[in-house]
């Protein structure tokens, strides 16, 4: 049995549920915005079922069910402090339980957090054998200017919060105040963009021919085409996804003029909806089958 846990206002979560309904899959759905106002119980270690009261229905969650989990904490939007306090309590129990259950979880809550710590994330990806562009993270204007002088450079957030990657020049650091740092700079790789979703041992790879710095902002998702990555890369990504402890990851690459695949990041909670739409729901289908081998 598949259990989808998330919030209804998350397009990716809603898309997973919509495609599961379309496919006629048997699944249960927990909308955390409703569950937070209801009742729950998680026993650790998870030797028995957990219960979540959802609307008027008490759902029983088995430790060996398959879980699609997209945690989005909406406590900041709560005006009632007593409700706001329930969010971290619900997440605390749910996280601990999903980290410990023997069933399949996409993804276990404690995994892949280094995506929110870019220098560490890039170092780990390189250690898995992936080709990662050089980077520097610093608040020192001399260091930042020197890196920019050495070649084309983009700036990204260190903490991984969603923001556009932008090309920077040395001028950007004229009069730079270290108090406005730190800044994460990465060597620009010119080429096409690829998004490769890994679900267990299944891969859905797509490429955009835009050649923009940030193809998503350039509107290039709509033109993405499914492609077959090199076998060695495919094997590497399956191994690295498992090595990070993830069942599901959205890998971003730049493919340069020589056909080299440069790894930009592995997203542990990818908003994969727009990509799924371009490949007939192949990502959602792979997720369902990973979580329940009998699922359509």
């Amino acid at each position: 049995m598949i259990v989808a846990i998330g919030v209804d206002v998350d397009d990716t979560f809603a898309g997973f549920v919509h495609r599961a309904v379309e496919a006629g899959a048997t699944f249960r759905c927990i909308n955390l915005r409703v569950a937070v106002g209801g009742a729950w119980r998680f026993d650790l270690p998870p030797i028995g079922p957990a219960t979540v009261k959802h609307d008027a229905e008490a759902l029983t969650l088995a430790p060996d069910d398959g879980y699609f989990y997209r945690p989005i904490d909406l406590s900041a939007a709560e005006t009632d402090p007593s409700v706001a306090r329930r969010w971290p309590a619900l997440f605390s129990g749910l996280r601990a339980w999903l980290d410990a259950v023997p069933g399949r979880v996409a993804n276990r809550p404690s995994r892949g957090a280094h995506n929110g710590c870019k220098p560490l994330h890039e170092a780990l990806l390189r250690d898995y054998g992936l080709r990662v562009p050089d980077s520097v993270t610093s608040s020192d204007p001399d260091v930042l200017r020197a890196f920019v002088r050495e070649g084309p450079t983009i700036s990204k957030t260190v903490c991984g919060v969603r923001a556009d990657a932008v090309v920077v020049t040395e001028d950007a650091f004229a009069g730079f105040d270290p108090a406005s740092g730190p800044v994460h700079l990465q060597r620009l790789v010119a080429g096409h963009d690829a998004r490769i979703h890994v679900v267990g041992e299944h891969i859905v790879a797509q490429v955009a021919q835009a050649g923009a710095v940030d193809y998503r902002r350039a509107g290039a998702i709509a033109g993405m085409k499914v492609f077959e990555p090199p076998a060695a890369l495919r094997d590497l990504l399956i191994a690295a996804t498992a090595g990070i402890g993830l069942a599901f990851a959205g890998w971003d690459f730049k493919i340069d003029a020589d056909g080299m695949h440069w790894c930009l990041e592995a997203n542990p909670m990818p908003g994969y909806g727009p990509y799924d739409s371009r490949c007939g729901g192949a990502v959602s289908r792979a997720l369902r089958r990973y979580l329940d081998p009998d699922a359509p």
Binding site: G38, S110, V136, S138, V143, H184
Partner: protein, 256 residues
């Protein structure tokens, strides 16, 4: 940066203060910074050839209110705080010199309770529930801590307030074992601590969780010992029984 050790923590942290004095008494120096200031100290290079963190110096990390201070801050200030936090975590994870406690790939290890430690005695699981009324088997032996930070017997906690609870053996005593790397320092000389081999078991538990420095609290009876809490940022109250030993071990392990 010419000092020997970087201490990162809030001003007035009593454990950091003790360590700073201990380092000074041993002829070393320490720089004590808050998290954001420490983050701006570092340059991290990640290249095909490897990682480089400058300055590369021993770091002793204490709990920091990374976000608590930002409740009234602007979105830009909160963003910068997140950038600093990510940078500091990366520097502490990637530098070559000793870091106590070094963040793991998925972040620092925070305080763990019985359910997460996986050392519970048979039948004494930990329960996370939306309120005490969900724990119908309560026979007055369940205690919990709720979302309002109230601690007590489950029957005394208000309904409808989320709670984390477990069955407590009221006859049990408690031992605190401080772990510093390969050394462990029980707070008491109680014979049961030796009989249950709590020093070695505490070292094993901390090692399994990837924590160099921690206070492990055990619920102990004549027959059993159950780890009920592991605090990787021990408070002064947990360390006071063995200050000299703990400081010796910390100084030695930081200055390797």
């Amino acid at each position: 940066m010419t000092n020997d050790v970087l201490i990162v923590g809030r001003p007035g942290d009593a454990v950091a203060r003790r360590l700073e004095r201990a380092l000074t008494a041993r002829g070393h120096t320490a720089t004590w910074l808050d998290g954001p200031t420490a983050a701006r100290l570092f340059t991290i290079r990640v290249t095909a050839a490897g990682n480089q963190v400058e300055p590369d110096l021993p770091i002793f990390i204490r709990p920091m209110p990374w976000w608590g201070a930002d409740a009234e801050a602007t979105a830009d200030a909160r963003f910068l705080r997140n950038e600093c936090h990510a940078t500091f975590q990366a520097a502490a994870a990637l530098c070559r010199r000793p870091v106590i406690n070094r963040p793991k790939a998925n972040g620092p290890v925070y305080r763990l309770t019985a359910g997460s430690l996986g050392t519970e005695a048979a039948g004494r699981s930990e329960i996370h529930a939306s309120g005490p009324e969900q724990i119908v088997e309560d026979d007055s032996s369940f205690w919990g801590e709720n979302a309002e930070y109230r601690l007590g017997a489950l029957a005394t906690l208000p309904p409808g307030v989320p709670v984390r609870a477990r069955r407590v053996d009221v006859a049990a005593g408690y031992e605190i074992v401080t772990v510093v790397g390969a050394q462990a320092f029980p707070a008491t000389r109680d014979a049961r601590s030796a009989a249950h081999d709590l020093a070695a078991r505490s070292i094993g538990l901390a090692s399994r969780l990837g924590v160099h420095f921690a206070a492990v609290t055990w619920a102990v009876t004549d027959d059993t010992a159950e780890a009920v809490r592991l605090n990787p940022y021990p408070d002064e109250t947990e360390l006071r029984y063995r200050w000299a030993d703990v400081l010796d071990a910390l100084c030695r392990d930081l200055l390797v």
